[in-house]
Subunit: 359 residues, 2 copies
Amino acid sequence: MTIYNFAAGPATLPDSVLEEAQRDLVSFPGVGTSLMEMSHRSKTVQDMIQSAEDDIRSLAGIPDDYHIMFLQGGASLQFSMAPMNLLTPGGHADHIVSGSFAKLALQDAQKVGDVRVAGSTEDQDFVRVPYQDELNLDPLSDYVHFTGNNTIIGTEWPTEPDTGDVPLVADLSSNIFSKPIDITRYGLVYAGAQKNLGAAGVTMVLIRDDLLARSAESLPSMLNYATLAKSHSAHNTPPVFSIYILGLVVKWIAAQGGLEQMSRQNEDKAQVLYEALDASEFYRGHALPEHRSRMNVTFRLPNPELEAQFTADATTEGLVELKGHRSVGGIRASIYNAFPKDGVSALVSFMKEFERTHG
Amino acid sequence: MTIYNFAAGPATLPDSVLEEAQRDLVSFPGVGTSLMEMSHRSKTVQDMIQSAEDDIRSLAGIPDDYHIMFLQGGASLQFSMAPMNLLTPGGHADHIVSGSFAKLALQDAQKVGDVRVAGSTEDQDFVRVPYQDELNLDPLSDYVHFTGNNTIIGTEWPTEPDTGDVPLVADLSSNIFSKPIDITRYGLVYAGAQKNLGAAGVTMVLIRDDLLARSAESLPSMLNYATLAKSHSAHNTPPVFSIYILGLVVKWIAAQGGLEQMSRQNEDKAQVLYEALDASEFYRGHALPEHRSRMNVTFRLPNPELEAQFTADATTEGLVELKGHRSVGGIRASIYNAFPKDGVSALVSFMKEFERTHG
């Protein structure tokens, strides 16, 4: 039976990536030992990291005045590292709160310094993101932080908020490289790898070089963007294997046709599911249609008992990890870059059959 | 040709661990997807993490009043996390400086709070660790920090410094589980996995429960030991694959006979190399004999040209990664738990032949 894995992250990886990683795990080509056994200062590992970086630059059009870093600690560590590094003495930052992770980012940032809420849809249970005219952005703030996609409710910003000349900082963990990105609109982007970029254990951080000047010397080395950027992701031992998997995934995206093609495929997959939702009275989507996520499609059934039955029956059909986040319940189908179209079709068929027999 | 990998870390892993990881990489037994694709909240991943923790408790005799955490950022992030969490308001800590990494730990800790040097062998170029009677320990300090093994010069503490009732904090990255450990002598132990415990990307942290009360609520969540301990290594997405490899290595150590057996093997391997050094006028060890490391055996040849020739010739014989750390030069043979005795014998034979032809 084919298994389709709708997990919200860690999530489905391309088969070819897993197969290559498996083939080369014990004996890395040209070396004879495992990549996991090799010094991070060896030419092989340095070349691997450089190649991942080069491929990211080429895939997403990242210019030379941005550093690409592979860090640890997940997006969650960036919640505090961003303000530690980017707040200026006496300065403050604006956060836009469009979901639970945006709220966690706010809470950690507020432990670091003067961080304000410039907009929130918490009153609307995060079923949409804030509209531009609802934002109360201070043109004097050090930066504006937003969260590109809400995995729990399943909303996504159709485009970046307009922050004028204030640097934009974004947690794009759950929709990075799912579509083209104009990096010049951002000062800092961070993304845990385990949804669209690979396996858990590495966070990609893109930062515009001029912002590195803000990192104070008083910051501990592992929390200092300037120190980390200078060392080329090897201030200490980097998470070599996770960077390797990320590099394979980036190559895979390029081989599929790049970010434009990813965007088309992701639109296409999401549309099939949303059309099925909209054609039914049995299933009700969480998110407002205009801000629906292409990554996480969330919905409810008439009652929790039917939802439990739905996920149980789906699992026996090989459609696994469909249970919604514990904070909202319901169903969540996460369909990141590597999730195959066939899995979406299989889910739609299952939904129709389930509605026919239980509706 | 058999390749013996003397890398200082990331370092040699047991063949059986690599083979099991390879076999199960694409399709994890009983699941059908890769472990790298599975939710960190899934039963399989939670069981895997729990099993790694249970095996560590059993292997090293870690009692229930210690938390075991699998964190990110390497030992280097612990350099600042330890003082962030363990310094009390108005309090101070003592650091013992016995090598370059101990010095880095000191420098990062001093960025966080009042951290003093209670002993240092920097004047002796770190060729030994401080003697107990050289230590200037304040019985009122919040904790004492030391570094168990110096990978660069190749020294190791024969036993822990005696700190009385002051909690002992240790970076044991390069000799953890190479011998039995009396954890009750420690308040906090941290160790990057990539030398004795597995692959890069995870740091094992053992902390005595009473010390968790010191973590202030004002600390960002990913830097707060109390928050991280409560979440059972899943406050955010943990580095699943690195924890998995660590778990396999811990099982492997247990299967070899446990820490007593590791200690015997490591003593035995190191002794063979040190005897070869001591029997020769051609090779000169860096470290003072009484504080020699069982993990990193370092030595010089009569001149740098011969050292370059030595590493080049050794590489063609399959004895790789023997070049000493760039800060001291010379030769370094790292022979952690998983490094096979046969590799040590092969190096000794090579050394004798090289001395015969170049001595």
